[in-house]
Structures are given as C-alpha cells and as structure tokens.
C-alpha cells in the first residue's frame, strides 16, 4: 500500500507539471495555483539524480551520503528528545492521575506551554549550550535541540497517558482495592495495561513531535550536522539548484516515518495479547 501511495504522489506531481500553469494561476490577484515550472517543482527524476551527484563539485561525497548522515544525526537527537519527553510526559501523567490537585494546577500550564512558539524558545535554549553545568556535566549544544524535541513530544504523551490511566474500569479498580492492593500495584497491574491503547497514538504523536522539534531547533539555532541545517543550507542554493533542497526535505520526511515506524513496531509487540478490536 505504502509503495502504491508513493507511486500515486509521484504521478500526481508529474501530472500537475504537465497540466498546471507554468507561472501559477491567479484568482483575484492572489496566487492560488502553484507554479509548475522546473524551478518551483523540479522533476522527480531530477531530484533523485541529485542524490547521486556530488554535494559540491570537487567533493567526493555524494548528496545521498550527506543526507543520510544528517538524518542519522537528527534521528539520534530525536530519540534522545523522545525518550526525555516520554519520561517527563508519563511521569507528569502519573503525578496528575494520583493527585487531582496537581492535575488541576498543572494541566493549564502544560496547555500554555504548547502555545509558546518553538522558534521563540529555540534561541534561548540554544544559549544554554556550553554554558550550563549540571552536576559537573557541561550542557552540550546538541542537547538543546534534543530538549526542544522533548518539549514538543511530552505534551501529547502526558495528556494521552493521563486519559489512559483514568480509563481503567471502576469495577476493576474497586476489585483491586477490595483485595487491599496498594496504589502502586493498581497503577502497574491495572492502570498502565489499560492505558496502552491510549498511549500508543500519544507516543506516535510524540515521536513525530520530537522530530519536528529537533529539525526546527537545528534550523533556528544552526546546529551543525543534522537534516534541519541541511535543509536551510540547501535552500540557499534553491535559485540555481532547486532539486537539491528537496533531497534534504525527503530526508526529513523519511526520518519522521522511521520514528513513527519504531513506535508502530512496539505497538504490535505490546498489543500482541489483546483482542484485535481494541487495537488502535
């Protein structure tokens, strides 16, 4: 199916290039139809062949190697961000489900935190690099990007898990309580297992959030080595080499898909003992 959908997208792109207006369509003076010329929409094969050519002339590094390296760099940052975000998210949700007071006090702040634009936050967090020292460890520059990834990923995870923890049937909770089960036992044996169908989609959102956070942080703070930085560096050459920037954009897209794939695999593993219809 996935392959088929890619073929479909490629076909649509190339079809638009054939039928679409070269210089874009305008309606009441506002551009509504994108331009279909080679600068705005390079042919798919131009983009693909760009992967095989050297990044800059005289360099023996081909674009696909550079993009792959960049994606791998960003992937590691996104994983760190995601792990950080999910532990904070799950931790907060456990805290919130345990104490109603915390939930009522904290949840509005979590919502507010997500309205802060990432690009406003990024330069601030980036400045911590090489400056902050926590327990004797210097805050590395790359960690700022990971933290911004965590910032985008913890929220859906916290909210999803909170909802999931509350989803345990009241009768089951009462049964556990009647057996004098401790709060911890109820949490681990009942609440978490019943929260998994809620947590998996939340984690998927969180995973893509961490990729977006890392890529935006790289663009905004200029962290070297990642795919976000590649996008902006290649975008500078878009005048004369428009296909090049697409190679990096595809790299970023592949990165997001990989992250979602990792979660999907864990989904299959965690849900293996469940009846099919509860699977999300």
């Amino acid at each position: 199916m996935f392959v088929l959908s890619i073929v479909l997208v490629v076909a649509l792109w190339e079809m638009y290039k054939v039928v679409g207006p070269q210089d874009g369509g305008k309606l009441f003076g506002a551009g509504v139809l994108p331009r279909s010329n080679d600068t705005a929409m390079p042919h798919i094969w131009t983009m693909l062949s760009r992967y095989g050519r050297p990044e800059v002339r005289g360099s023996d590094k081909r674009v696909w190697v550079v993009v792959l390296e960049g994606a791998w760099f960003s992937f590691r940052l996104a994983i760190v961000g995601f792990l950080l975000g999910s532990s904070i998210g799950v931790g907060l949700s456990v805290l919130m489900s345990r104490f109603r007071l915390v939930e009522r006090g904290l949840l509005p702040y979590l919502v507010v935190s997500q309205t802060v634009p990432l690009i406003a936050l990024a330069p601030l967090v980036a400045l911590w690099g090489g400056k902050l020292h926590i327990f004797g460890f210097e805050w590395p520059r790359w960690f700022s990007a990971a933290v911004l990834g965590a910032f985008l990923s913890f929220f859906p995870i916290a909210v999803g898990t909170l909802r999931g923890l509350a989803s345990a049937p009241a009768a089951a909770v009462e049964l556990m309580e009647s057996y004098a089960a401790s709060w911890k036992q109820i949490l681990l044996k009942l609440r978490f297992p019943s929260a998994i169908p809620y947590m998996i989609p939340a984690f998927k959102l969180g995973a893509s959030g961490s990729v977006v956070g890392v890529v935006v942080a790289e663009i905004s703070t200029g962290l070297k080595g990642g795919i976000g930085r590649l996008i902006i560096e290649y975008a500078r050459e878009a005048t004369a080499d428009p296909a090049k920037v697409f190679t990096a954009v595809f790299g970023a897209a592949a990165l997001g898909l990989t992250m979602a794939g990792v979660i999907a695999i864990s989904d299959v593993y965690l849900m293996r003992n469940r009846p099919k219809e509860t699977s999300s």
Binding site: R35, E55, L132, A240
Partner: protein, 389 residues
C-alpha cells in the same frame, strides 16, 4: 494520609523548581574549563586566553578573515584560543554578545546600534567592511536604474534588520515606503526575482547577486550575465550603511585584561583579512574545508567581492571612518520604514564606537611589517559556473 501525600507532592514540586532555578543561575565562571586545552603554545604563552567570536551567519567567505587567522595560527601566536560560533536564522550576534555568551561579535552597524539603543552595551571596535555590499537587482526590462525608479515597483527585502538601506534610499528619493512602493518579504534566495514576484530583489554583491549569475536563463540556455541586469548599489546611491564590524562588550572594555585581549584579537583578525586579500584562493580553500556547503567558485566570488568591500583601506584596515559612521547614524535616525518609524530614535553616544583598539592593533601589525592599507589591491576575476559549483 491523603493530606500528607499532597504536601509531599507540593514539596517535591517546590524542590524541583528550586533545582531548576539553581541550574539557571550557574554563571559563566565555568566556561573556561574546556577552552584551556591549547594546541599551539609559543614559549611565553602558558595558557591561551579563551575567546568566543559570534558570527552573523553560517561559515562562508564573508567571514574568511577570522577562519584564516584561526587556521594560520595568528590567534594562537597572540596567545588566544579562539572559538568561532556560527550564526543561524534566530541567532542575533548583538544579543549573544550582550548576554556574555560570546566575547566578540560580527554585526552590521545599524542592527547593532538598534540593539544598543535597546540597552545592550556593545561597542564597535573595528570596522572591517568599509563599504556597503547591498544591491537592489532587477532585470533590464523593469527599467530600475536608480532608487528613484522604485516608484510603483515590487521591491524585495529580507527584513530582520537587513532592510534599512532600502528605506534610507526610498526616503532620500522622496518616496513613501507605505504608498509609493510595494514591499515584498523576500526569501534568502533569488527565486522571487527569477519568477517575477519581485521587480527588484535585495542582494549582497558577494552572495545573492552571484546566485543570479549562476542560474541558466531559460531564454538563452546560458547563464544570466551582468548585461541582463540592472543593479542599484546603495553605496553608490550615497545611502550605504556600515556593515560587518567587530563588536565588543562595552562594560568589559574597562577591564585591562579584556582590553588587551581585544587588541590582540583585532590584530590577528585583520592579519587574517590581509592574508585573504593577498591570496583569495587559499582563503576560499580554508572556508570550504571548514564545511561550508556553498560551491567553491561561489565562495571564491564571495571572497573576491568581500575583499573589494575591505580594500583598499587608506586609513588602515578596520579604522572606523567618522564620515561613514555619521552617515550610518543619520540614516538610522531619518530613514522611515512602513510604519513611519526609524531604526534609532536618538543618536548613540560617542561610546558606541572607538578607534582606540584598532589603532593599537594596527601598530602591532605595522611592527610585524604587514600592509594595513592594501593600496595595491587588485580584485581577481572570477568566472561563475552553474550552481556555483
């Protein structure tokens, strides 16, 4: 039971916020730890002074002099351990410097003065670029030969404080930016001009202008040439504003150690620029080796154009020309933007720039027998190729 656990949770949160606050306030005293590892140490230099330089943008030939000074060991010879911090979309060198995250910063004068008016105590200690490199580029058929021809046209500008010269030119030509022209926010490439969204696009001589000349003209199947284009140079229009300068922390300049470091830093940096003047190709190679993603011929073009902005320097490289400084300040006070506001609301104090540091630095260079004027400087001819590769 329940009550006590709530208390516990509240106490826990309070403790957590304390930890966070404590981390936030740990200050720069510790920045020195990593930088102490010296690579080159002449006999008299035991521990080189760590210095951080914040650039305005990614590594490119615009900053070649600093990279050349680093690679050729000019900084090390002055007993400095320099770290060059690249810029990015949301990095403002003025802010980084004012916050103490860097010891020196490269920034345009008008932008830095705006930051200074906002409370950042930063001082121009060396005016590396003596001339403005900003152009407004248009195709011949748009017939825009001077800024007076902007009337009724779509004028591209970058924003982010890079647009002040456009407003200065409009004001000088007697045009109202709000009604007489259509100002278009421009990407950091020239596709807007090529696609016809913009009649005249903002461009630096050393970067975007070359990008147009590296693009194939669909009509002729060959690269665009300078003959296809009209170029309005703000320097020639008389509204050029001073650009790349080295800025220092105004408070710390009273500290004798920092002051001495500033002299050495400026001297070594200018030595790097002198090296780039004499060997543009070698400097380009240094920048390319530093991981710039721009093509090699594009970088060579950039190096050559940047050299033209610096050399010849009759008063000595890095000296702040009072006339150019006054012009920049005057334009910042009078050029009106869309909302009718100006860059600066009042003239900066005299403390905003000083020639003391650069004078001392040039004395050091003259001692070493380095040509600080470049009177014999002749730009090379760079042939651009498609895509700048």
């Amino acid at each position: 039971m329940k009550k006590s656990s709530i208390k516990l949770a509240v106490a826990g949160l309070a403790a957590l916020s304390l930890v966070v606050a404590a981390c936030g306030s740990s200050d720069e005293a510790a920045t020195d730890t990593t930088a102490a590892a010296a690579v080159v140490t002449p006999e008299e230099c035991v521990t080189p002074t760590p210095v951080k330089l914040q650039l305005q943008w990614f590594t490119q030939a615009q900053f070649a002099g600093y990279y050349a000074a680093l690679e050729n060991g000019y900084y090390a010879d002055m007993c400095l351990d320099v770290t060059i911090l690249e810029g990015a979309v949301d990095i403002s060198p003025q802010t980084v410097l004012a916050n103490g995250e860097a010891d020196f910063a490269v920034s345009w004068v008008s932008k830095a003065l705006a930051a200074r008016e906002g409370g950042a105590n930063i001082v121009d200690i060396a005016q590396v670029f003596q001339r403005s490199g900003t152009l407004q580029v248009s195709f011949k058929d748009a017939a825009i030969a001077t800024s007076a021809d902007f009337k009724g046209k779509k004028i591209g500008n970058w924003g982010y404080g890079n647009e002040f010269e456009i407003f200065a030119a409009l004001t000088k030509a007697g045009l109202d930016p709000a009604t007489d022209v259509t100002l278009v926010q421009q990407q950091f490439d020239m596709s807007g001009l090529l696609a016809g969204d913009i009649d005249a696009a903002e461009a630096m001589t050393y970067n975007e202008y070359a990008q147009v000349l590296e693009t194939i003209n669909p009509a002729t199947k060959a690269l665009y040439t300078a003959d296809d284009l009209n170029v309005v140079s703000y320097e020639a229009e008389g509204v050029g504003m001073l650009q790349d300068a080295i800025w220092a922390d105004g408070h710390r300049l009273f500290n004798t150690d920092y002051n001495a470091t500033a002299v050495k830093f400026v001297a070594a940096s200018l030595m790097g620029w002198a090296f780039c003047r004499d060997d543009a190709q070698a400097c380009t190679d240094i920048v390319v080796a530093k991981g710039s993603k721009l093509g090699a011929t594009h970088q060579l073009w950039q190096m050559n154009e940047v050299n033209k902005l610096i050399w010849p320097a009759p008063a000595g490289v890095g000296m702040i020309d009072e006339a150019a400084w006054t012009r920049t300040v005057d334009l910042s006070l009078t050029a009106k933007n869309l909302e009718g506001g100006t860059v600066l609301t009042k003239a900066p104090s005299d403390a905003a720039h000083t020639n003391e540091i650069v004078t001392a630095a040039l004395a050091l260079l003259t001692e070493k027998g380095i040509d600080i004027n470049g009177a014999a400087f002749a730009p090379i001819t760079v042939t651009l190729t498609e895509g700048g590769n």
